[in-house]
Symmetry: C2
C-alpha cells in the first residue's frame, strides 16, 4: 500500500466490535460483497458507455491548461476573487479552499499566495449588502467568477445582474470584459450567450456532469488554481483513486467496501450518516459530501418506478468541537446513525501544548504533548465511546491533508455514491424534486407564462401567516 | 400582538395542510395540549424552586453592569477579541455575532464598532497555528476571553496554556493581567484559581446553568458587548418571551405549542429536526440550537430509569443555499423530518435586483424585485414544495433581526427544550454520555490516576488501524 493513499478502516462497524444487533457480521459482509461486485461492473460499464462523464474529469489536461492560461492573464491584478454560484457551483470551491489553504488566508496577507476568496452562495440582502459595501473599494482589483450551467439559476442570475450593474456604474462597460470570468455551458444557455456577446473569458461546465459531481471540472478548479492550490496534484490524486475504485475485487476497492457498508447500514435502520472530520481543513468536504449524498441518494422511486423513498440523511459534524454538542445524542439517542470519521495521520504543523509555570499542576500531563496528538486522541476516544454504545463507525484515514489526498477523497466518495445508487437501484444523477420549488418561486415573482397565476394563489393560501395558526 | 414579537406559525404541520398520515389533526393537538399544560406547570414550579436558574438570566442586571465595566476598561486598546471556549462556551458567542453584526465585520474596519472577534472552538494544530502566526503581530492589542466553568475542559486548557506562554514570551508576565479575561466559576476550579492568583479580570459562569443554556449569562454576553451588540435589548427580548412562555394557556404559549408539536412529531416517526433559517444572520442560531437540542434531549433513560434512547437529531440547514443541496432528499427521501423555518419579515437593508441592459430578456421578470423578496419567495416556495410532499413544516417569524428578536428566540427555544424534556420524561439538563470520551482521552494521554493504563490498552486495541480492516 502506497503511503500517500487514503484508506478506509471499518473494523468498528463490524459485529466483532459492536455486536451482532448493530454491527455487520462476516457473513453479512460476504453476502453484500457478492451483491456489490455486479454493481462495480455495472458502474464501470456505464462509465465506458459515456453515461457518467464525471469519471473522466481527472484526465482532462486541456481544461487545466485553459485554467492556467486564464489564471496567468488575471492573477497579477486580482486581489479578490468572488465566486457567484450556489450548490454544486459553490460547495466544491469552498471545500477545496478550506482544505488546502490556511485558516487565516483571507485576513493574513502573508499566508496568501493568491487573491482573497469569497464564495457567495446565497442571496441574503444583508449579507450581500455588507459584502458589496466592502468590495466597492477594491472593485478594480476584483475578479468575479460566475458559475451556472444554464445561467438560469435564479440566485446566481440575481447576484450576477447586481454585480454587472455595479461594475458598469463604477468602472464602465469595458470592465465586464476585464473582470468577469464565466463558467458555463460550452454551447448554449443565457450565460453562454452573455459571455459570447461580451467576449468574456470563459470556462466550460462539462456536458452530462451534474453540479454535485463537478468539483474536479473548471467549476471547482479555477478558483482553486487562482488561490495557489495545486490542481494537477488534485487530479493526480483522483486518478490514483480511480485505479482503486474500478477494481472488481471487492476487498481491494475502497469505494465498493464503503458503498456496501453504507447500503447495509441504511437497510438496517441507520437512517442518518454522520461525517465527522477531526481536522479543520476537512470540515467543508463534509459539507460537499452532504450535497453529493442527499441529492444523489434521496429518491422517491427506484428504476422500476416503485415508490421507495430512500436516502440516508447526511450530517456534517466536526471533531473535537461537536463532542461538546452532539456526542450525548450520538451515544444515548436512537441507534440510527452510521459514523464516518476523517482522521489525519500527520499534521503539517503541530503545536506543543504549554502549561504555564506557577499554575495548578493538575494539567501537567498535557506538557510536551502536541495539539495534533490531543486531537487524534480525542478522535480515538470518541470512537471508543461510540463503540461502547454499539454505534457503527468507519474512518477514512488521510496520511496528510494535501491536494493529492483531497483528490482521492473526492473521487472515492463520488464513486461510492454511484455504487450506493446502483445498490439502491435508483438514479443517482437526477434531482426531480427540486423543480417544484423553482416553479413556485417563478410563480411568486410573477414570471410570465405557464399557469403561474393559479400556482401563485395556491402558494399564498398555504404560506400566508394566518392568525389562526400563529402563536 | 406586539409587532416586535417573534411568532410561531404551524399551519403547515397540520393534517389540514399535509393530510392525516403525516400531519397533526385537531384532535391530536387538543390531546397533546392537555398533556402539555401540566408540563408547563411543572417547568414553572421547577423554576420557582430554583432548579432551572437559566430562567432568571435575563434579569441579572448586575452581570450586565459588570460586563460594561470590563468593556469600558479594555475596549479602547482592543483590536481583536479572541474567545477560547468550546461547546456552550462558543456556540452562543458565534450565534450572537453572526446574528447581530455585519457579514464583513472582521474584514471591513468601517463596518465594525468593536474589535474583530475570533471564537476558536477547536484544537486543530494547523488552524490554531495559522491563527497564532497572524495574531502575534497584534498581540498587544488583543484580549483573550477564556471561558470554562471548571478550567478542566481539555481543549480550552490546552489553548489557554499556549496563549499564556506566548503572552509571557512576547510581552512579559504582566501582560496576562492586562490581556486575559476569565469567565469561570465564581468560587472554585482551576481557572478560578488561576484568575485569582494572577489577579485577572473575571466574570462568572452562573451556578447550575449548563453550557448550552448559558448564552444569556456572561459566557455569551461579554464578547457580544465588546463587539457593540446591545445586550440590554437582548435580555429585554428574553424577558418579553418569558412573559409568554410561562402562560398556562396552551395556545397563548409559543414554547408550549412548539414543544407539543416537536414531541408529537418525534412520536410519529419524524426522527430528525431540520432548522432552516432563510437569513444569513440567523444561520448560527441553528447551530446553537443543534447543541441545545441534542445534548438536552438525546437521552438513554427516562426518569424511571427505563431504557428509552430518545432524541430527535437536529440538523442545521440554510435557505436558499441548501435548496441546491438538501431539498431533493427532504422532499423525496423518507418522510422522517420535521422542518422549522426561520423567516424574516423586514430586512434592514435590501438590494434591488438588476438585469443589465442588452442582455437576454428571459430574466426581465426579476427587474425591480429585491433580493429580500426573492429570498422570502424562495422560502415560501420551498415550504410549498415540502407541503406538496406531505412533510410537516413550522416557521418562526422574525419581524426583523435585531437583539430584541434574537433574545426572544433564544429564550423560546430554551424553554421549548425544557418542555420537550418534561414531555419525554427525561432529564434535559445533564449529559452523562460525554464522560466516557473524556476519560478515554485522559487515558490515551497518560494522565496519572484511576485505571487509565487498562483503559488505554482497550482503546488502542479498538482503534489501532489493523490491516485486516483497512481497504
Amino acid at each position: 500500500m502506497d503511503s500517500s493513499q487514503i484508506r478506509l478502516f471499518y473494523r468498528n462497524a463490524t459485529a466483532e466490535a459492536i455486536g451482532e444487533e448493530h454491527g455487520i457480521t462476516h457473513d453479512q459482509l460476504e453476502r453484500i460483497a457478492a451483491e456489490t461486485v455486479p454493481m462495480i461492473r455495472r458502474v464501470n460499464e456505464q462509465r465506458k458507455a459515456g453515461e457518467t462523464p464525471y469519471r473522466d474529469l481527472p484526465y482532462q489536461t486541456h481544461v487545466v491548461e485553459r485554467i492556467h492560461d486564464i489564471v496567468g492573464e488575471v492573477h497579477g491584478r486580482c486581489k479578490n476573487l468572488v465566486v457567484l454560484g450556489i450548490g454544486g457551483s459553490a460547495l466544491g470551491n469552498i471545500a477545496l479552499q478550506t482544505a488546502l489553504n490556511p485558516f487565516m488566508y483571507n485576513l493574513d496577507d502573508k499566508q496568501r499566495r493568491g487573491p482573497r476568496l469569497f464564495v457567495l452562495d446565497n442571496i441574503d440582502p444583508e449579507q450581500f449588502g455588507s459584502f458589496l459595501r466592502w468590495i466597492r473599494n477594491e472593485l478594480d482589483q476584483t475578479i468575479f467568477n460566475v458559475i451556472s450551467k444554464s445561467g438560469r439559476t435564479i440566485e446566481t442570475a440575481a447576484q450576477f445582474g447586481i454585480v454587472c450593474d455595479m461594475l458598469i456604474k463604477e468602472l464602465g462597460q469595458h470592465s465586464l470584459r476585464d473582470q468577469l470570468v464565466a463558467t458555463t455551458d460550452p454551447k448554449e444557455g443565457i450565460l453562454r450567450e452573455i459571455a459570447d456577446r461580451l467576449n468574456l473569458r470563459s470556462l466550460d461546465v462539462p456536458d452530462g456532469v451534474g453540479g454535485r459531481f463537478s468539483v474536479l471540472s473548471a467549476v471547482g478548479l479555477f478558483s482553486a488554481a487562482m488561490c495557489g492550490i495545486n490542481v494537477d496534484r488534485l487530479l493526480a490524486g483522483a486518478q490514483d483513486m480511480d485505479t482503486r475504485v474500478k477494481r472488481e475485487d471487492f476487498y481491494e476497492n475502497p469505494a465498493a467496501v464503503n458503498a456496501a457498508l453504507n447500503y447495509h447500514f441504511w437497510n438496517h435502520g441507520k437512517r442518518t450518516s454522520v461525517m465527522m472530520p477531526y481536522s479543520y481543513h476537512l470540515k467543508d468536504l463534509a459539507d460537499w459530501y452532504r450535497q453529493l449524498w442527499a441529492e444523489s441518494l434521496g429518491k422517491a422511486r427506484d428504476s422500476l418506478n416503485r415508490e421507495v423513498h430512500v436516502g440516508p440523511t447526511p450530517i456534517r459534524a466536526l471533531g473535537a468541537t461537536d463532542q461538546h454538542s452532539q456526542i450525548q445524542l450520538y451515544r444515548e439517542g436512537p441507534n440510527d446513525k452510521l459514523f464516518t470519521f476523517l482522521q489525519v495521520t500527520v499534521f503539517e504543523q503541530d503545536i506543543p501544548i504549554k502549561v504555564p509555570p506557577d499554575l495548578p499542576t493538575e494539567l501537567a500531563y498535557l506538557t510536551d504533548r502536541n495539539l495534533g496528538e490531543l486531537l487524534n486522541s480525542e478522535k480515538r476516544a470518541t470512537e471508543f465511546a461510540l463503540v461502547s454504545s454499539r454505534r457503527p463507525c468507519l474512518t477514512v484515514v488521510f496520511p496528510r491533508v494535501d491536494a493529492y489526498a483531497v483528490g482521492q477523497f473526492i473521487y472515492l466518495f463520488e464513486v461510492t455514491t454511484s455504487l450506493v445508487g446502483a445498490l439502491l437501484n435508483i438514479n443517482a444523477y437526477d434531482q426531480p424534486a427540486v423543480e417544484l420549488g423553482k416553479e413556485a418561486t417563478f410563480a411568486l415573482l410573477g414570471k410570465p407564462g405557464k399557469d403561474y397565476a393559479e400556482l401563485d394563489r395556491e402558494i399564498r393560501g398555504l404560506t400566508e401567516l394566518d392568525e389562526h395558526f400563529l402563536v
